[in-house]
């Protein structure tokens, strides 16, 4: 595992703060940068929200898809 990768484990975050924290983190990225989201379920609704609010501005790559943990690399693409 790359120990320098940026990891946001949202299992630690109170439920109502999860999505705002994820989007705040995303907005703080420079184009080309990314972080790995860790969650305890498939964050499909989050992806829909990204597609709605940031269409064409983000990358989404599953690194692990359950059954216990989901890891998704979310990147900021050039605007």
């Amino acid at each position: 595992m790359n120990t320098n990768e940026r990891v946001l484990d949202v299992r630690v975050i109170p439920p109502r703060e999860k999505h705002p924290t994820i989007f705040d983190t995303f907005m703080a990225l420079e184009p080309g940068e990314s972080f790995v989201l860790v969650n305890d379920h498939d964050p499909k609704p989050l992806r829909y929200q990204f597609e709605y609010e940031h269409a064409g501005e983000f990358g989404w790559e599953y690194l692990e898809q359950g059954p216990v943990v989901w890891r998704v690399e979310i990147s900021r693409t050039a605007a």
Partner: protein, 234 residues
């Protein structure tokens, strides 16, 4: 960042049970409280070295501190977090004094960072940061601490896990964002704030699925009803 579990979350569990629980819950590392788990078993685990990657650290206080155990941890390259009851400044001195050569003993720092961060920076002492009820502005403290990110070696979140819902509004999300953007790669240990939440923790650790975030995960166990070929649906 490696999110893990304190053995305080499951009092009475064996180390093997704790490691199994971490794996089942998708938690990457385990913190073992000295005195909270069987000491002989702890020595055996450290000596065997089979789980060193899974053990984030040993957590000791003044009463449970043992030079022998710290040496064993050192030989296994396992970090020790020392919760000394001394003043902030002397915690750092205590941690240095308690560390055999080559061993990492981190002083546990809690409370507002303004009270202790300058001393840690001046002494260049890596530390464990505990976010608990004495930390009144976790996000503000994180911002200050991460100006000296190389010294932050360990984080404990008291009241994480199933108690997380009660942390709303405290700024834990903002702390996580800052740790992420700073590339913090150390452990973040979830631990109960009080024994009265024991049932909640036991329930949380026994679950395999998620708590959700306002959305529902697909569950492989959910039933799908299908009509047979050639028959009309009822």
């Amino acid at each position: 960042m490696r999110v893990g579990l304190s053995s305080d979350a499951a009092p009475g569990a064996t180390i093997a049970e704790l490691l199994d629980t971490c794996e089942r819950r998708g938690l990457g590392v385990l913190e073992l409280r000295v005195g909270g788990v069987d000491t002989a078993a702890l020595h055996d685990v450290l000596r065997a070295g089979a789980h060193n990657e899974s053990i984030a650290g040993l957590f000791a206080d003044d009463a449970s501190y043992s030079a022998g155990l710290v040496s064993a941890a050192s030989a296994s390259n396992v970090t020790v977090v020392l919760d000394s009851g001394a003043s902030y400044a002397s915690r750092m001195v205590e941690a240095r004094r308690a560390a055999p050569r080559g061993c990492t003993v981190l002083p546990l720092m809690s409370g507002p960072a303004v009270r202790w961060l300058d001393a840690a920076v001046l002494a260049r002492v890596p530390f464990a940061w505990q976010i608990d009820e004495t930390c009144t502005d976790p996000a503000g403290d994180a911002a200050q601490i991460l100006h000296h990110a190389s010294l932050l070696a360990y984080v404990r979140l008291v009241g994480g896990g199933p108690e997380g819902v009660m942390q709303e509004g405290r700024g834990i999300g903002a702390v996580m964002k800052q740790l992420t953007l700073a590339g913090y790669a150390g452990p973040l240990i979830l631990t109960p704030s009080s024994p009265r939440y024991r049932v909640a923790w036991a329930t949380w650790l026994g679950r395999r699925g998620g708590w959700g975030c306002g959305s529902k995960a697909e569950r492989s166990t959910s039933l799908k009803l299908a009509t047979r070929t050639g028959e009309s649906p009822i």
